[in-house]
């Protein structure tokens, strides 16, 4: 057993040595997490990302209140405003792809308000682009609501003669939101970084393992290792260590980028986060070995890998909340080790919880690693003895 581990380290050392001497593989190794980071850092829309969005405004009245709304849209939010005339015109502009949404301020807008009549504003958004559409309507709604409230307060003030009382009458309830952590709610990457780390660790360790084993088989170097008096288990240990080290380094790259580029703060214990990373890597290893054992060549292995990894990414809660999924998908997500890894990393890194709160996650990941490794070892031995 001592020899088996020693031989495993020998193989791991050899793997890492050849890997770090290969500039092409090294470049991909660094660029992959970089891309993932930058993509997720900038791709998800937030309200600040609405800056420079094209919207259409149909404003027939041109009263002082109208210009105030226009000013807020242009200067305070930062929209690029295109002039339009009426609902149909705005709809056409959206169809042509010239604007993402629009707002119609009718000609009697200011007149109605000053004469105690109700005014109407029409909001049009492009439903085929749901995320922008949602953001736009929330911004428009908020804006109109605010103006509406301000008008109501000044109207009531005219009667009661007290600004404070007027406000209390119009807005009897206010809401205060207590944050879990002190971060900028627009900084989506703060919440994504742990999940991203988990995902990169998964793709890196699983695909890396399968291709490392298949490559050696196809090149014939595996024969050299197999013809040496070593345990078959040493090969698995060696490959797992070398891929684990690589996955770990990539996770560190993600972390460093997140801190350096996106000013992500880590609230919990770094040591505990690293422990989760290592255990997470272990939980993917068995699956990786299992897949490379049942596939004859590298191409098959990567195809099976891809087929497995995509649903894992989407069902693990890294990108989309599990609570939103239909029941059967929620059930599936419970069988994905990535779910537990992403969850525990997020809770430790962002919420700052201790080991006690994530112990279950950790035990499940360890169980995954053990079960799949136990399944994989006999299959691997069978494969190499074919």
């Amino acid at each position: 057993m001592k020899n088996a581990i020693k031989d495993g380290f020998l193989i791991a050392y050899k793997d890492l040595l050849t890997f770090f001497r290969s500039p092409a593989r090294l470049a991909v190794f660094v660029i992959m997490p970089l891309f993932m980071m930058i993509l997720t850092g900038y791709i998800f829309p937030s309200e600040s990302s609405l800056q420079n969005t094209d919207i259409a405004v149909s404003n027939a009245g041109g009263a002082e209140l109208d210009s105030m709304i226009l000013h807020i849209l242009k200067e305070d939010i930062g929209f690029k405003v295109v002039n339009a005339s009426g609902v149909e015109d705005i709809k056409n502009l959206i169809k042509e792809g010239k604007v993402s949404g629009g707002i119609v301020i009718p000609s009697d807008f200011a007149y109605n308000i000053s004469h105690q009549k109700q005014s109407h504003v029409t909001i049009i958004t492009d439903q085929t682009n749901p995320q922008i559409s949602m953001l736009l309507s929330s911004v428009f709604n908020k804006l109109i609501e605010n103006i509406s409230t301000q008008l109501a307060i000044s109207n009531v003030n005219a009667t009661v003669g007290n600004q404070e009382t007027a406000r209390n009458l119009v807005e009897p309830i206010t809401i205060k939101t207590e944050k879990m952590v002190d971060v900028d709610p627009d900084n989506y990457i703060e919440f994504m970084a742990p999940g991203l780390m988990a995902m990169i660790v998964m793709t890196s360790s699983m695909t890396g393992l399968a291709s490392a084993i298949s490559r050696e088989r196809e090149k014939g170097t595996m024969d050299g290792i197999l013809a040496a008096p070593i345990s078959r288990f040493s090969i698995i240990i060696g490959k797992s260590i070398s891929q684990g080290v690589r996955a770990f380094i990539q996770a560190m790259i993600v972390l460093i980028l997140a801190v350096a580029l996106f000013h992500v703060k880590i609230f919990g214990s770094i040591g505990l986060s690293l422990l989760i990373l290592v255990i997470g890597i272990f939980s993917f290893m068995g699956i990786g070995i299992l897949i490379s054992s049942i596939s004859k060549e590298q191409e098959t292995a990567s195809m099976i890998m891809m087929t497995l990894m995509f649903p894992m990414m989407f069902l693990s809660g890294v990108f989309f909340p599990i609570q939103q999924m239909p029941a059967f998908m929620q059930t599936i997500s419970k069988f994905i080790p990535l779910t537990y890894m992403a969850d525990s990393l997020r809770r430790v890194m962002v919420l700052g919880v201790g080991f006690g709160s994530i112990a279950t996650d950790i035990y499940i990941m360890i169980a995954y690693g053990i079960i799949f490794t136990l399944l994989a070892v006999p299959l691997f031995s069978k494969m190499v003895n074919r």
Binding site: L17, T18, R21, G220, T221, D223, G224, A227, P229, R386
Partner: protein, 312 residues
């Protein structure tokens, strides 16, 4: 006496397909034994079984005194493998490659260093030891491949197509090296397509076809098997083919070659040719017997059809 390799009904099936069909073979210690056979005949599968890389479906084998099935790791300590796919890592140097595989054999570090140096020097690779394999030529790679296989000082060396694709110079170095190993008492088992290799290297040849070992002989013994008539190449000083050749009964066939002729016939043929030549005032410039090549033997024993089969 104890054999280096002794197999009994060694069989390997891949599903329905029988790749190796009940091979029983004894190879003596210090022997150079060659497996000869068409592509897909089962040579490589046989080698892989003997090297512990493929598990036999049935049958037994004792390699270097150990049971292949029961003690594969003991067998592995005693064997070295040179396969047609070169076993080495491109991004490691010659030195690092050999040391890596030596360590897998659990040798002490000082012995590893000593042997690696000895082997690299013997194969003329010492100068290039710190260059990465990716910068080596095919010939240099093959020498590292051989050095790697010998680092555990194996009792039996398996060579799968060792001279495939090598230039004449490297082939010669490797061939001499193999002969030298054999003189030192190392058993050599090789597979090849190249008939010349067999002639120059092997003490005995086993011909494999359709997964069966159909013949085991010395190269000479095999040759004798098909030597039914004498064959001679004759160069005449005269340009024209002497007419009298056609009237000699002992000659069964005359072939016009490039600048000379080849005659086939019985043992009286040569005597008749010389006598007629003197009588007709004809001059023989050079004459030499044509030995059948192993290729001839091979075609005679296995037929000349190319057989393709699908492995499942």
């Amino acid at each position: 006496m104890e054999y280096a390799v002794k197999t009994e009904n060694l069989t390997k099936k891949f599903g329905e397909f029988t790749a190796v069909d009940g091979i029983s073979l004894k190879v003596e210690r210090g022997e150079v034994f060659g497996f000869l056979g068409p592509n897909g005949a089962g040579k490589t599968t046989t080698m892989r079984m003997l090297c512990t890389l493929t598990r036999p479906t049935s049958g037994t084998a004792i390699i270097a005194g150990f049971d292949l099935m029961k003690e594969p790791n003991k067998v592995r300590e005693k064997i070295g493998l040179v396969s047609d796919k070169m076993i080495m890592y491109d991004r490691m140097t010659g030195w690092e490659n050999i040391v890596f595989f030596a360590r897998l054999h659990h040798l002490p570090e000082d012995i590893i260093k000593e042997r690696t140096e000895k082997l690299l020097r013997a194969l003329g690779m010492w100068e290039w030891r710190d260059e990465q394999i990716q910068n080596y030529s095919t010939g240099m790679r093959q020498r590292i491949n051989v050095a790697r296989a010998l680092v555990n000082e194996p009792e039996i060396l398996f060579l799968d197509e060792p001279l495939l694709g090598l230039d004449p110079q490297t082939s010669r170095v490797i061939r001499e090296f193999i002969k030298d190993l054999s003189r030192k008492g190392i058993t050599i088992i090789l597979t090849t397509h190249v008939m010349e290799e067999v002639d120059k290297l092997c003490h005995r040849v086993g011909i494999i076809d359709h997964g069966k070992l159909i013949n085991v002989e010395t190269p000479d013994g095999l040759r004798r098997k098909i030597e039914k008539e004498d064959v001679y190449d004759i160069w005449f000083r005269e340009e024209a083919l002497p007419n009298f050749l056609h009237s000699i009964d002992a000659i069964s066939r005359i072939e016009k070659m490039n600048g000379h002729i080849r005659i086939h016939g019985n043992s009286d043929m040569l005597d008749e040719v010389v006598r007629n030549c003197v009588k007709n005032g004809c001059h023989i410039q050079k004459m030499k017997p044509v030995e059948p090549t192993i290729e001839d033997v091979f075609i005679a024993l296995t037929g000349d059809k190319i057989r393709d089969k699908i492995k499942r």
